[in-house]
Symmetry: C2
Subunit: 422 residues, 2 copies
């Protein structure tokens, strides 16, 4: 599309947006706030807050009986609904625990499947949190595995795919990557990497934290082995809402979780003193999940399922193309450069723009301009675009306010030293 | 106290109850419902539901900024408040994850401290879920450890303390028990068992799920090494609310969690690719916790802290003494026998009463009598007494309705086959 940098053009894009009405499904108390951090924590949809409101009453009235209504089966039921958004047929996804714990469970299970192989392949663009889990697991298993972190190119924007291909060999047990990398927003070709790994006999585990709800994912079609992801980003599940995990059906009975949970027991109410794994995907559960968190998150899936991932992707790409265009026009002259692939196919739903004063610019935006991006080391302003509630007008205004912060040198009063969460 | 079986006597006990006013702090929509399952899921207090109501607005308005307000530090802050209820000074408790996951983390850490020892001692009265975690951990570590389950006496009511003492020897690395056992409600002497284990060079890990908020616990004073517990029972945190864990201060820097989480990283926002454990208790965190679940639970601690554990224990014992008295008078003639120690010092805050038709009686109570106890195999009706909202009048009515179910043979129409959660 031929874009125009005039604000009127943003209005036209919003008028023509087939998903525009979804914004009204979200609770947006301050319409002036330009929220570009839905990739860290999504906005609440009305359905979630309505569900949350009812939950207090249900807890009061139903008490323990709530488990007979919809709490007990929630991990599987919600998992199946998430499955619809990530191309997984029912019985392969459960919602539970945190991404880190789910990665720990599935990575260990993967390693147990191929005891003769000892190389784990990942990359330097992966979430550090995922790398930590792999490191801890390696230590726990007696340092028998080598963790190879493939490097990146283009200033940490894209992975070194040649190096990745070379790293995956006959000794590789597991390839585990973020489908969309957290900093640059690079989108891996899931089909190609999965196929490559399988050809060399390795298993694949994808972290979908930045792709679920943002880009179409086809786990079944790509024959992915394992996946994990969070629900508080583009799935809008709420702060710290439960994570999910996927295990391909034919692998489920071959493995168990290293954390033998009561919810993963064949007949939990028999209170048998010895563990027997439940059939199917339930064997990867552990203990009780917060019903408040789980059901609030479940309600957030409705608008996404209704809109459909193809329409979401179409708008996401238009939003990010437009944002990149405006960055070229307004911000490149001010010292910004793109920290995300220019090619749409290689992009998730956030765009990083880099500036040597990125950290201070980020602070000025939050404290003076009513814009919330986030900052990632060393110089990335990360701008998240959530197609169901981010409008083209917001993108225009967001870029415009960034321009003003730099032109007016408003960031200069902030110290270079990083504030940590206090 | 000399009890009387007349209903009027229950009224007098309620009138004299110094904690009676706390019942009004809880949301009780159906005053006729006799809820005797607060040891499975506590009732919500008003402060929790008010906090829950505000959380929707905070998520909407604060969005990611909520982490700079009270979300990021919640695990430690809430942990310290729980610490006040279990005798732990600040910096030793965090609220996070589930009991199973926390047990996994701490049991592994404990085993790593004494690599020359290979026996884990527990008992058959422990939560099966705890036994499963130990079994899974043992398997993960290559079956190097022996898990000894000490048996019980008096028809599974009390542990075999002689056998326990004999089992703890120079090869024992860890003694892990439920402080209050889930079925019979037996209360271990924490000081004595911890001292015994320490004398033989072993570490101790207590599961406080049935004691936190129900009986006074003195972790620091008893020099306990590790503890875990849930918050959805007597802490009234809500269905599946976050669990907690305790690591004694001087042990913290000697160990790490097997699950190397981002929240346990020294400087998480540096996004370093290699893990370095955070100082102190934070190193036992993993990933993001649900803020909805965590802060709702935090609010539930208020009434408990205000009442104080000594007053709670005094009322708890009076409630259970009274319940046992009424059972002797009304239910023993109908075939019930006590499944809980008669000696108050050996009891937590629930009483099990046993009957060969226990399962069907439980169903009839729920479906016809507006009483909610719960049932535990093979014949236990488990009656939980939550001192802040369980009244003496409720105990009288609960026993009276049980009497009627049996006298009127109302239970006979229910099948013997167990219903599982559907």
């Amino acid at each position: 599309m031929d874009f125009d940098s005039d604000r009127e053009f943003a209005r036209r894009l919003d008028q023509q947006d087939p998903l525009a009405a979804f914004r009204q499904r979200f609770v947006i108390p301050d319409p002036d706030l330009i929220y570009l951090d839905g990739n860290s924590l999504g906005r609440p949809c009305r359905a979630s807050l309505e569900r949350l409101e009812r939950l207090g009453g249900e807890w009061s009235r139903d008490l323990i009986r709530g488990y007979n209504k919809d709490w007990w089966h929630a991990p599987g039921r919600v998992g199946d609904r998430i499955g619809q958004l990530i191309g997984a047929s029912p019985g392969q996804v459960v919602a539970c625990d945190t991404v880190s714990i789910n990665l720990f469970k599935l990575a260990q299970a993967a390693l147990s499947l191929l005891p003769g192989r000892n190389k784990i392949v990942t990359d330097t663009l992966n979430f550090p949190s995922d790398l930590y889990i792999l490191q801890g697991l390696g230590r726990l298993l007696g340092d028998q595995h080598t963790i190879v972190r493939v490097g990146s190119k283009d200033g940490d924007i894209t992975p070194d795919l040649d190096a990745l291909e070379a790293a995956i060999d006959q000794s590789t047990v597991l390839v585990t990557l973020s489908h969309v990398t957290f900093k640059s927003g690079y989108l891996y070709d899931m089909a190609a990497i999965t196929e490559l790994a399988h050809r060399r006999g390795a298993l694949v585990l994808w972290d979908l934290s930045h792709s679920a709800g943002a880009v179409p994912v086809a786990l079944d079609e790509c024959q992915v082995d394992f996946a994990v992801g969070c629900t508080y980003k583009y799935l809008n599940g709420g702060p710290g809402s439960p994570a999910f995990l996927y295990v391909r059906r034919d692998l489920q009975e071959k493995i168990v979780s290293p954390i033998w949970g009561w919810w993963a027991q064949k007949d939990p109410f028999a209170f048998d003193l010895d563990y027997s794994p439940a059939p199917g995907i339930s064997r990867f559960l552990t203990g009780s999940q917060s019903a408040l968190a789980m059901l609030t998150m479940e309600a957030a899936l409705e608008p996404l399922l209704e809109a459909g991932m193809e329409a979401i992707r179409t708008k996401s790409l238009l939003l990010s193309d437009y944002l990149i265009y405006l960055t070229d026009v307004f911000l490149a002259p001010l010292g910004f450069r793109l920290g995300t692939p220019r090619i749409g196919e290689q992009r998730g739903s956030h765009v990083s723009i880099r500036h040597s004063d990125g950290y201070r610019i980020n602070r000025a935006l939050i404290e003076e301009m009513n814009v919330i991006p986030d900052f990632r080391e060393p110089d990335n302003l990360r701008l998240g675009l959530a197609p169901l509630y981010t409008s083209f007008g917001e993108v225009w205004q967001g870029i415009d306010r960034i321009r003003r912060v730099v032109e007016e040198k408003r960031y200069e009063k902030y110290p270079q030293e990083k504030l940590t969460v206090t």
